[in-house]
Symmetry: C2
Subunit: 285 residues, 2 copies
């Protein structure tokens, strides 16, 4: 028997993964949730059939989402908002910083959290940290009433269709700006520049973010199980610069062990290929 | 009808590409050569079933193989040796430098060159440049009798099995060292760090190179159609440093238009993730 999970990365290109078994499946109020087990990547989570994370390479995504802003902002980060991210991966990395006092995790789908707690314990492992407050709400609505409150907002969303769609809009990014303190930073998962559909989504998100923030830069990582393996993240602020304001020595002095992130790679991640720069410049005016 | 080409990236993971048609197939004296046409990537070349290049993303690989060493060595590069690379992609990029006087392309398989001339004209387009000399020989044997002759050697090989196997050995790298002039640089395709088999090949190649060269650093690029999308290249020399000796202003003054490479990305490409550094450090003693 061969059981194959295929995620289409483009209309005619797919990554096919031979699966040992489907550990879980459910149609929640918001989306279809599946957990599979396979030889190459261990367990992996899909939402509406889209790859969210695998045990094998989730460290890349989560380390880049969290340590990049933390190495810039350092101890000024006390209160953090994570929108989406019900798997707990971003929370796990955030909990490694003792100076972070409060983490609000706003996840629309309670079932994602429950499923990850049960099936992905190495990812969801810090969701019970006393600093973590899980709010089962729509991030889009939650953020509307917040002002000047967070030092860091992380948008760990799904793709810009289905439940995650609103998290790529101008209204939403504008509200994130308002919810951040003056020195604050917004980090968001920003899709991929390569396949046409992803590149358009990336461009649209960038257009909406540069409309709201004084400074907005993209950074990249190699994530093998995401379409094209070339994934982008956004770093936006009122002026805090992701490379010029990097406090590499301070971060290195913390002794946080990472498998992907380091402070040299931090700088390199912001040096984008020309074709990606051009894609973004088109919407920057 | 659905015609699907699948390249296995690991024993249980494959990239599946829907193909419009197979344009060409041949069993040469050395390997099976195929050219396919598909919607997403245009035409693509496989050797023994392994993806060599696609029209859509070959610029990434070829720009990184050529412009990285050229931006370091500048006008001191007069004579270049390309081993493998019968598709002509590296030659195409090399020909953009007027100061390069002589390019030897040593390709074991005459049929690869002929097929690429016919089916991949945007890649093979500069093979008739008067500076290009094509030698249909085994690179492994060719290099043995060369001493102190080239300013730059580019190993544009297939994977380390089949006809390309010898191009990853200690003997071969030692002969490359001998064939280079004192200021010379060796650049090689260096496999991927992610999937087990590739990572082992990468480690083995690195062990063999550090045995021969005083300085050896790896750099990376996002190549969507290669396994994991995270591809490595080697930069080896007797002391010329790929980042400290980068002459960014000189390179930018040349006005060479690129779609992936730029001199900032050049630096960033050498900042590797921790897990890749550890993989390499294990064999550096």
């Amino acid at each position: 028997m061969q059981l194959t999970f295929t995620e289409m990365h483009a209309p005619t290109v797919g990554l096919a993964i031979q699966v040992d078994r489907q550990l879980y499946t459910e149609q929640s109020d918001f989306q279809r949730i599946d957990v599979f087990e396979c030889e190459e990547f261990g367990r992996f989570l899909t939402l509406d059939g889209y790859m969210m994370l695998t045990e094998r390479d989730e460290f890349i995504y989560h380390e880049m989402m969290v340590h990049v802003p933390l190495a810039v902002l350092g101890e000024t980060v006390r209160k953090v908002l994570v929108i989406g991210g019900g798997d707990g991966g971003c929370v796990r990395e955030l909990c490694r910083y003792p100076h972070i006092e409060h983490i609000d995790l706003v996840e629309i789908d309670e079932r994602v959290v429950a499923v990850c707690r049960e099936y992905l314990p190495t990812v969801a492992c810090n969701l019970d940290d006393p600093r973590v407050h899980i709010l089962y709400q729509d991030g889009l609505k939650y953020i509307r009433r917040i002002e000047d409150e967070y030092d860091l907002i992380i948008i760990d969303s799904t793709d810009p269709f289905g439940p995650g769609e609103g998290l790529f809009t101008m209204e939403f990014y504008g509200n994130c700006y308002k919810a951040l303190r003056a020195h604050g930073v917004l980090v968001n998962q920003h899709e991929s520049p390569f396949y046409k559909g992803d590149a358009l989504a990336c461009q649209r998100a960038h257009r909406n973010i540069v409309h709201s923030f004084e400074l907005s830069r993209l950074f990249q990582a190699h994530i093998p199980t995401y379409p094209s393996g070339h994934w982008l993240f956004g770093f936006s602020s009122r002026g805090v610069h992701p490379v010029r304001d990097l406090k590499a020595d301070d971060w290195n002095a913390r002794g946080i062990e990472t498998r992907y992130y380091n402070t040299n790679l931090h700088k390199g991640a912001f040096y984008l290929p020309n074709y990606v720069q051009r894609l973004l410049e088109k919407v920057e005016e």
